[in-house]
């Protein structure tokens, strides 16, 4: 790289880390360009299906990023992501069947409900060893499913139909609109994850992850930080679920609490890398796209099996994920 280019690169890096304006401006411009490009590509592909496939991938970006705030940053594994997602889905269904708010208003409601459940679960179990929290989240998802199955008003086991609104603000087709909403959520969740990671909250969670007792003795209020992470994580997962009824139009417990959500939300950050916000994004984009491709070529169950196997393989040979591999290659070069 020429001297001029290298100096420019250093300058951008320096201003990006020291809070200058050049870095964020550049990032925002690149981001906006990418977004415009994405819309162009999807429009060129021509079908609604392209938008819906992209919606699913972005949904996983949100879920993986949300999971990682507690799982990757603090080291507390949430096995019940499907439950939190479903809370968002069914909050949306309840709103649909009562006051009929637009999606953008439903999302905060869904986030708040899921966040509350996250807080409650955390409050009851985070004082104990991490494994008990994990087991509790696993069982929580099943209990929530039981509750929904027994709740006829939201369809129970039979499910419920949701009609997409007739008018679509700005975006032309409803598929495009949903995609835009999820894109917004994805960007928001990544920004939140970045914010957490670089703040005192992120540092505290990292200390808890490395050694919780030592962290406590160093003045880190571990229970409160874990509760914050659990609540935030749950809320984002619930937010991801809010547009889902309009996406899928027929909601039943099996789809809301799907196996796909359960395994992917954990596999994507672990495969991508758990210590930073970029890992879940990489994992979600890669695995999500892989799945969209595989679903049309092989069965969806086999597709999930592949994800499960990838999860186990990565966790054994590349515990720090793709980002970890990149980092260690770089370190070895130096």
């Amino acid at each position: 790289m020429s001297v001029v280019a290298k100096t420019a690169k250093d300058e951008v890096a320096r201003s990006a880390t020291r809070g200058g304006w050049l870095g964020p401006l550049l990032a925002a411009s690149i981001g906006a360009a990418l977004i415009a490009a994405t819309f162009l590509v999807l429009d060129w592909l021509g079908t609604d299906y392209a938008y819906l496939a992209a919606y699913t991938v972005l949904q996983f970006v949100v879920l993986a990023t949300a999971w990682n705030i507690l799982g990757g940053y603090a080291g507390y594994v949430n096995f019940g992501s499907a439950g939190f997602f479903a809370i968002g889905v069914y909050t949306s269904v309840v709103v649909y069947q009562t006051i009929q708010l637009p999606i953008l208003a439903t999302i905060p409601l869904a986030a708040a409900t899921a966040g509350l459940v996250g807080f409650a679960t955390g409050y009851l179990t985070l004082r104990l060893r991490g494994v008990f929290f994990s087991i509790a989240t696993l069982a929580l998802a099943i209990v929530l499913q039981t509750l929904i199955v027994n709740w006829d008003w939201v369809g129970g086991a039979r499910g419920v139909y949701v009609l997409r609104p007739q008018t679509v603000p700005v975006f032309g087709s409803y598929a495009r609109y949903l995609f835009a909403v999820m894109l917004g959520l994805a960007i928001l969740s990544v920004l939140i994850a970045r914010l957490v990671e670089n703040s005192w909250l992120g540092q505290g969670l990292a200390a808890i992850r490395d050694d919780e007792v030592a962290a406590e003795c160093s003045g880190v209020p571990s229970l409160w930080l874990k509760l914050m992470a659990t609540t935030l994580s749950g809320a984002l997962m619930g937010a991801a679920g809010a547009p889902f009824p309009y996406f899928i139009t027929y909601v039943d417990p099996n789809t809301a609490f799907s196996l796909s959500i359960a395994v992917n939300t954990i596999a994507m950050p672990l495969i991508g890398g758990t210590t930073t916000w970029a890992g879940p994004v990489i994992g979600a984009l890669l695995i999500g796209s892989l799945q969209q491709y595989a679903t049309v070529t092989i069965s969806s169950a086999a597709n999930l099996l592949i994800v499960g196997v990838l999860l186990v393989v990565f966790v054994i040979i590349a515990p720090n994920g793709i980002i970890g591999l990149i980092t260690s290659i770089r370190e070895r070069r130096q």
Binding site: L128, A139, L270, S299, A301, L305, G308, L311, V312
Partner: protein
């Protein structure tokens, strides 16, 4: 609602019968997780695997399901040992209880369930045996279906056998020693890793056998394992983690609680019972009923 005493007594009886089965289901978790700190959340998947192995041998070769599970048990033992070996080399050796270790077992849980789904489909499967169908009549006009009684007896027998193994044999006592103090075992020349390996193999073998018991009691399809996750850990924690007697007691309590719930409020609420018991135990008395 007026409590019908007949109904209640029947519910309690069913619950106790179920409890014996639940004890067999949970004993593997008591060994692996309670005693040895191996968080094998994939345990329920192995139960379902055992159920399907029994189904396969029963429907293809007409082998009695209990016999089938006994045939499969040695393979399960070896498989369990191999699985622990992998877990040890990949995770335990590297340090404390990690995110990756938990994710590993979750991955295994998932792979087993989806593989069964791919191979057997979503239909419910049952087995046929002489003791499925008839009932035993007891005094007070109570009737006990043999398909519930058999798993109770076999399940309790299995737990008893393990208790004897743990307290009377050399390896069994080594397992108890490792559960209390791995360092001490090293000092007398024992190898805690080998001991844990054997214990884990036994735990998986019990899961396979419990699976056969399950399919005797009720029809099974691949995703029923999920109902058992809450149950096995609820029983393990309520029973005090390391005590087999505690496991049996906790299993009985869970069985009765679920049975009463099913009888008076319907079967769809049963999965919530285990979770509630787990949460309450963790909140109120984390050391369990008979815990240290």
């Amino acid at each position: 609602m007026a409590v019908s005493w007949d109904l209640l007594i029947n519910a309690v009886l069913s619950g106790l019968l179920l409890g014996g089965f639940y004890a067999a289901v949970a004993v593997g978790v008591t060994i692996a997780f309670g005693m040895l700190d191996i968080v094998n959340i994939a345990h329920p998947a192995f139960i379902v695997l055992g159920a399907f192995i029994a189904y396969w041998l029963n429907s293809s070769y007409g082998i009695d399901p209990l016999l089938a599970s006994l045939l499969a048990a040695p393979f399960a033992f070896l498989g369990g040992r191999a699985l622990y070996r992998l877990y040890y080399y990949a995770f335990e050796r590297r340090g404390e209880e990690s995110l990756q270790g938990l994710a590993f077992f979750f991955g295994i849980l998932f792979i087993v369930e989806v593989s069964l789904l791919l191979h057997f489909g979503v239909d419910y499967r049952t087995v046929e045996a002489a003791y499925i169908g008839p009932s035993v009549d007891l005094p007070f006009s109570l009737s006990v279906p043999l398909r519930l009684l058999t798993p109770l007896l076999v399940g309790l027998a299995m737990v008893l056998a393990i208790q004897i193994f743990l307290s009377r044999t050399f390896i069994g006592r080594a397992i108890l020693a490792v559960s209390q103090d791995p360092g001490a075992l090293r000092m007398v020349g024992g190898n805690p890793v080998k001991v844990k390996e054997i214990a884990f193999g036994i735990a998986i073998a019990t899961a396979i056998i419990a699976g056969a018991l399950l399919i005797i009691i009720q029809p099974v399809e691949p995703s029923v394992g999920r109902e058992f996750i809450g149950r096995v850990f609820a029983i393990c924690v309520l029973g005090g983690m390391t005590s087999l007697a505690g496991t049996v007691l906790a299993a009985m309590i869970l069985g009765v609680a679920e049975s009463i719930t099913t009888t008076f409020w319907g079967p769809s609420w049963a999965p919530a019972v285990a979770f509630s018991i787990l949460l309450i135990t963790l909140a109120v008395r984390p050391s369990g009923i008979l815990g240290r």
